[in-house]
């Protein structure tokens, strides 16, 4: 029974003797093997750790278990929230939207506005035109956005609704009451059965950039640089990137800047905060250059920018030292300016810190998973520190990623390179087998690594998306020199925490429990 002076929740409540008895007693009614024959459970558990299991596991062709990817509209919602006063609108069933909103909200601990037009069975039969007409009208009336960015769920894609035609029809019917003729309704088809959330990001970014700029191309360039952050879940990273660009004194537009939306100060609530001004987005076609920070999240978008718009710039991934160097050099080239002293100093401090801490990361084996561009940046940072990325797993690799990652790993010292594996299109249940059979010292990944940590005892360093069970990490940067310093700090200190864990045995191992490291 609870003691009113020490009320405990489930963590300790169920460890009280009376509850231990309850749980033990329940077993007689249960049919799981753990209750019937615990030894059998034990035996199978052991089997799952071996090479035989690993081979069967890796031979899977149909079922995905514990994936490390999400679906297209999630990325589309992120893009929409990066534009000023823009409501993400998902055409299809509202169940998906409830999921997108909770997923982002659990990660950012911030509200995530997004509407759906709640298509149901009749819409599946007759199409979702009525839903879209009513939905756009209601959304505009209630929330008064400056733009509505429409993406789709599986359902709308399977029945083949035509967003372009629907948006026009909705405006016609509304006749300017809530949706003025020039009210921007941008859209992208985001079928979840191709690609992943980063494909949806790409499709929506392409949709917004191409549709908003229609008819806006001018003879004169506007002297600006466009920056596309990609599916960026580190708010601090966006700020680091902006600070770097600003230090060159460059005029720029960050296209899809959700850094204020998912980082609202307390005290008041307004549905939308920050974001790329629509006017700037309309003018982005006239920029001098466009740089994407995530190549694999912006394939289609950059094809348009490079081939049709013929912008200079291209791709740069500012994670890690080398990645940031390249970004800085690119800006120097585009602006024709020298690298500012501020950045030189920042770089110097980062390198100094790397040289202070390297012994702890050197030679350590890491398993890591996440989105393709994140992995390229993170792996190159690990290599810069002399670490060994033993298992690099990407559940949503885009074309070309596997080769690029292989080539990157091959730049590490010859002996280690052969032991570094690229796992394209694999999931986290595969990872479990890999960790048991070819163990590593640390894992880097999102909250889904938690069960791997429990099962394999490999410590997890929380870097990635989504992170539901550690707070505020997303507020920090992992890009730029300051971001690299954060990475260095998190990883080094986790190594040190683990070293203490491993050596704290009193009168047995604590000779190595050093005060100074």
């Amino acid at each position: 029974m609870q003691d009113v002076n020490n009320i405990v929740n489930g963590k300790d409540l169920f460890r009280k003797p009376e509850y231990k008895a309850v749980l033990e007693n329940k077993k007689q009614f249960e049919g799981g093997m753990g209750a019937i024959n615990p030894a059998k459970t034990e035996e199978i558990a052991e089997w799952t750790k071996g090479w035989d299991y690993r081979e069967k596991n890796l031979a899977r062709e149909a079922i995905t278990i514990n994936p490390a990817k999400a679906c297209q509209p999630l990325g589309a919602v992120m893009v929409a929230l990066g534009f000023e006063n823009t409501m993400p609108y998902v055409h299809g069933s509202h169940g998906c939207v409830a999921y997108f909103r909770s997923y982002f909200t659990r990660h950012f601990k911030e509200p995530t506005p997004c509407v759906s037009d709640s298509m149901t069975e009749d819409a599946a039969v007759f199409g979702g035109l009525t839903n879209m007409k009513d939905g756009l009208k209601n959304c505009a009336a209630l929330y008064k956005p400056e733009m509505i960015a429409v993406s789709t769920t599986c359902m709308a894609e399977v029945i083949g609704d035509d967003l372009y035609a629907f948006a026009i029809a909705a405006k016609e019917e509304d006749a300017g009451e809530f949706l003025a003729a020039d009210f921007p309704i941008t859209y992208a088809h985001t079928p979840s059965f191709t690609g992943s959330h980063i494909t949806g990001y790409d499709n929506m970014m392409h949709g917004i950039m191409s549709q908003l700029t229609e008819g806006n191309k001018k003879e004169e360039k506007n002297g600006k640089i466009n920056i596309i952050p990609g599916f960026e879940t580190y708010i601090g990273s966006m700020r680091s990137v902006k600070a770097i660009v600003e230090s060159f004194g460059a005029e720029y537009t960050m296209l899809g800047d959700h850094s204020d939306q998912w980082d609202m100060p307390a005290g008041d609530y307004s549905m939308f905060a920050g974001g790329t001004p629509i006017a700037d987005a309309k003018d982005c076609i006239n920029a001098d250059a466009t740089i994407t920070l995530q190549k694999y999240s912006t394939v289609k978008t950059m094809k348009m920018v490079n081939k049709k718009w013929k912008h200079a710039g291209g791709f740069s991934n500012p994670i890690g030292l080398k990645g940031t160097d390249e970004f800085v050099m690119k800006l120097a080239e585009l602006t024709g300016k020298d690298v500012p002293q501020k950045l030189k100093t920042e770089r110097g401090r980062l390198v100094d810190a790397m040289q202070d801490s390297y012994p702890y990361m050197h030679g350590k084996k890491f398993a890591i998973w996440g989105d393709p561009d994140f992995l390229i940046g993170m792996v190159s940072f690990l290599l810069e520190m002399g670490a060994e990325p033993t298992h690099v797993l990407c559940n949503n690799p885009a074309r070309g990623w596997e080769d690029e990652m292989r080539a990157l790993l091959d730049t590490s010292p010859a002996a280690a390179a052969a032991d570094c594996h690229v796992w394209a299109g694999k999931d986290l249940w595969h990872m479990r087998s890999l960790l048991f059979t070819e163990p590593v010292d640390f894992m880097i990944g999102n909250s889904y690594g938690k069960e791997l940590m429990r099962d394999t005892d490999v410590p997890l360093i929380y870097i990635g998306f989504p992170i539901f069970d550690r707070h505020h990490l997303h507020r920090y940067s992992i890009s730029g020199y300051d971001g690299a310093l954060n990475l260095l700090t998190w990883i080094t200190n986790k190594v040190l925490d683990q070293l203490d864990e491993d050596t704290k045995g009193i009168a047995s191992t604590d000779y190595f429990f050093d005060l100074i490291r």
């Binding site: 029974m1 489930g10 596991n57 994936p67 169940g95 709640s118 879209m132 209630l142």
Partner: protein, 490 residues
């Protein structure tokens, strides 16, 4: 309360909210909003609201889908079975391990609740159909997870649209292997909310667990006079465990939990129980009615939130059994009373008179009212995501005062109601949490217990009280105003 009565304020708030809508939407929403009075016998449902209707498009409803109701609520917690999110990758990923259905087991070996199995449909599966893929999924699961006691196939939106026949595929595989395979046609576009998913899932339990021939490990248990089953408790944060203990203490034998921490064996042996105890009426009344009809098992609704309702429920349950149980029931009540008194003595003064607005799923919007009132808190608004008329009828008996009732409330409305009625605490889901916290309002998630709990039973009430105190009396809310802010400013 000032010159304006609570009821008048509530009515005005509704009127104002409706003004923001275009005509068609306003007409629709008007039917879902009302003010309920505890003594108002004229009302058919609480506040006379209409429910279980299509959501107005474009309004940011909090509702989920049928898949969420089946996979997320009813089937997902059954721990010794593997549940496939059948279709593209999203739905299964977003709903993975989000509900805190506690269970004991070796995950990935003999239990699977927090994992995500998905057939991860690709374009070719959509175009050419995925029945072969499903068959292969079933094979692979059985190979890699030999201790699973069955597999359910939870359809996502595309399945029903592309003409896949999951029923035939499942049946064939089951026949070949003797495995229990349960196909559920719970595509997200069916129905208007999670609710239809509950119903569909209930029906498949009937068809594949009761009328099917599931293999059951171990010996069947012997039947006793005191066998009961807990139905509609998903063991969020351990709720069913802190309920179970009370039932056992009063001499009953809980032979099954549905479906938090459940095994399929428990479900099967429920057909021999003497009484079904139904907590979440909305999500499991169907199967309870079926067991009543088919197996002659009576069912009663109970409420283990807050001592007043808990005591009432314990007595109601005991009344069904003989005097020995009734006597033990009184002993249980007497045993916990001092703890309840102490909890109330400690927290009531800190919470007395604080006003609360609720919005939850299909049961808690009425069930938790009593727990708040036991702490001296006043619930002034409540509503359900996916309730039906019968829930709103039941709500009439649970409210204590004029209460604004909002069915399928959307973000706009809830924000407007809160601004107008100024409660001290908002208690709802994750999606709304930070909206209100940013306004400086204490907030508790009432689906997940905000990562605390359990809240059921006596022990749960103590946690509930401590959590509400923590929320309302935390010093953090006082920091929003900076020292340089002038009076009257935020």
């Amino acid at each position: 309360m000032g010159p304006e009565s609570l009821e008048a304020k509530q009515k005005a708030a509704i009127e104002e909210v409706l003004k923001a809508y275009p005509e068609k939407a306003a007409k629709n929403r008007a039917k879902h909003l009302g003010v309920g009075g505890p003594e108002d016998e004229s009302q058919k449902t609480c506040g006379n609201v209409r429910s279980n209707k299509k959501t107005v498009p474009g309004v940011m409803s909090q509702r989920g889908c049928a898949y969420a109701g089946s996979k997320g609520v009813v089937w997902g917690p059954v721990k010794d079975m593997v549940h496939i999110s059948h279709g593209p990758v999203g739905c299964g990923q977003y709903s993975r391990a989000g509900r805190r259905n506690y269970y004991i087991g070796t995950t990935g070996v003999d239990t699977f609740v927090t994992m995500n199995f998905t057939s991860d449909y690709q374009e070719k599966d959509i175009v050419f159909g995925g029945d072969k893929k499903l068959d292969k999924c079933l094979h692979e699961i059985d190979e890699l997870f030999p201790l699973n006691n069955g597999i359910t196939v939870q359809s996502e939106c595309p399945i029903g649209l592309i003409g896949d026949d999951i029923n035939a595929t499942s049946k064939m595989y089951a026949k070949k292997t003797g495995q229990t395979i349960v196909p559920v046609n719970c595509e997200g576009f069916r129905g208007v909310s999670q609710s239809l998913g509950h119903h569909l899932a209930n029906d498949t339990i009937r068809d594949y667990v009761f009328d099917g021939n599931p293999t059951i490990l171990g010996e069947p248990i012997e039947v006793t006079e005191y066998d009961v089953a807990i139905i509609g408790d998903y063991n969020i944060g351990g709720d069913a465990w802190s309920s179970r203990i009370l039932l056992e203490e009063m001499g009953l034998r809980v032979v099954a939990q549905w479906s938090g921490d459940a095994t399929i064996k428990e479900m099967v042996q429920t057909t021999k129980a003497k009484l079904n105890l139904l907590h979440c009426y909305r999500s499991m009344n169907y199967i309870s009615r079926h067991m009543e009809k088919e197996y002659g098992i009576p069912w009663i609704e109970y409420n283990f939130f807050g001592p007043t309702q808990t005591v009432k429920s314990l007595r109601k349950i005991a009344a069904f059994f003989d005097e020995s149980i009734q006597a033990k029931c009184e002993e249980v009540i007497a045993k916990y009373q001092p703890m309840v008194d102490a909890v109330q003595a400690k927290f009531r003064p800190r919470l007395e008179g604080k006003q609360v607005m609720l919005f939850v799923g299909g049961l808690r919007p009425r069930h938790v009212i009593g727990a708040y009132e036991d702490l001296g808190m006043e619930v002034i608004g409540t509503g359900y995501e996916f309730a039906h008329d019968d829930d709103y009828k039941r709500t009439k008996d649970e409210i204590f005062r004029s209460t604004v009732i909002y069915d399928d409330v959307n973000e706009y409305e809830l924000e407007a109601f809160v601004k107008k009625l100024q409660p001290d605490l908002v208690a709802s889901g994750i999606k709304e949490k930070y909206v209100f916290q940013k306004m400086g309002l204490p907030y508790r998630q009432m689906h997940s217990w905000d990562y605390s709990g359990p809240y059921h039973g006596y022990d749960g009430f103590a946690i509930f009280a401590a959590d509400m105190d923590l929320a309302i009396n935390s010093p953090v809310w006082g920091h929003s105003k900076a020292p340089w802010d002038k009076e009257g400013e935020a």
